[in-house]
Amino acid sequence: MQLLQKAVQWARIKSPWIIHFNTGACNACDIEIVASLTPMYDLERFGVLLKGTPRHADVLVCSGPVTMQQKERLIRIYEQMPEPKFVVAVGTCSCSGGVFHDCYGVLGGIDSVIPVSAYIPGCPASPEAIIDAVVKLLNSLEG
């Protein structure tokens, strides 16, 4: 039984599948996320696959400040992911609201709505920083 647990843990760390969601961003961070999955920066060597549905995913990679229109959609996507799940906030807007901090219609960073595991600052966050954050997240699971 212990062996089975360890095998499952190993599988989760070695192949985290991600779902990408944009909660009202300007799309620069989305372009950098997609660029980091291409062979040039190659996030896929860590076993990361970009899936189309949250029901298949372990990690939610999220960009953009949460707008009032997107809040319930984001919560619905987060609840559709099976446990154990993690959230990575990409870009300054997801960390704290960024330039849109006190605007009408904006609620702030992603952690005002769902719990976040890793924050990546930057505007837009560079692909090297995204890879660094994913590696740190995977290392923290090993312990």
């Binding site: 009032m68 006190d102 009408y104 219609g105």
Partner: protein
């Protein structure tokens, strides 16, 4: 019709109350202040008969006592005609231009949501661009609006 002076002369000939209200700011830019009740005629005439096929955008302004709308009409060779109408802030009502130019609905909804100008003739529709649960009479782009 490819010259700013001929456009100005044609507008004054057909609508004599515009004499003195049309300004040629610089090359290819014409500004005109239009009374709100005659606006639809002038817009229809400029769009259909004077060959201004493009409506670039509708810009809403908050000028203290008045709320204004600027309509930017453009020609293929680059001449832009700006028509400005003003309505008082207590009863801001303008007529829709969607029967002449259906795509203006998007700009009119934006002005309705963000500045509170009421557009007569626009069908009931969802809010754009504000979120669906935004309270009813808060207009974020007015100068005296607080969060």
């Amino acid at each position: 019709m490819n010259n700013e002076e001929t456009i100005q002369a044609e507008l004054v000939k057909n609508f004599p109350f515009l004499d003195g209200k049309i300004r040629l700011q610089r090359e290819r830019r014409i500004f005109a202040e239009v009374p709100a009740d005659k606006f639809l005629e002038i817009f229809t005439y400029a769009h259909t008969k004077m060959d201004f096929p493009i409506l670039c955008t509708i810009v809403g302004l908050d000028e203290g006592e008045l709320l204004s709308c600027l309509y930017f009409l453009a020609k293929e060779n680059g001449i832009i005609l700006s028509l400005k109408i003003s309505v008082p802030k207590e009863t801001p009502v303008i007529k829709t231009i969607t029967q002449v130019f259906p795509a203006a609905e998007m700009y009119e909804r934006e002005v309705v949501d963000l500045l509170g100008i009421k557009v007569e003739g626009l069908e009931e529709g969802r809010r754009y661009p504000l979120p669906d649960n935004w309270p009813a009479d808060q207009y974020p782009l007015r100068k005296d609006w607080q969060q």
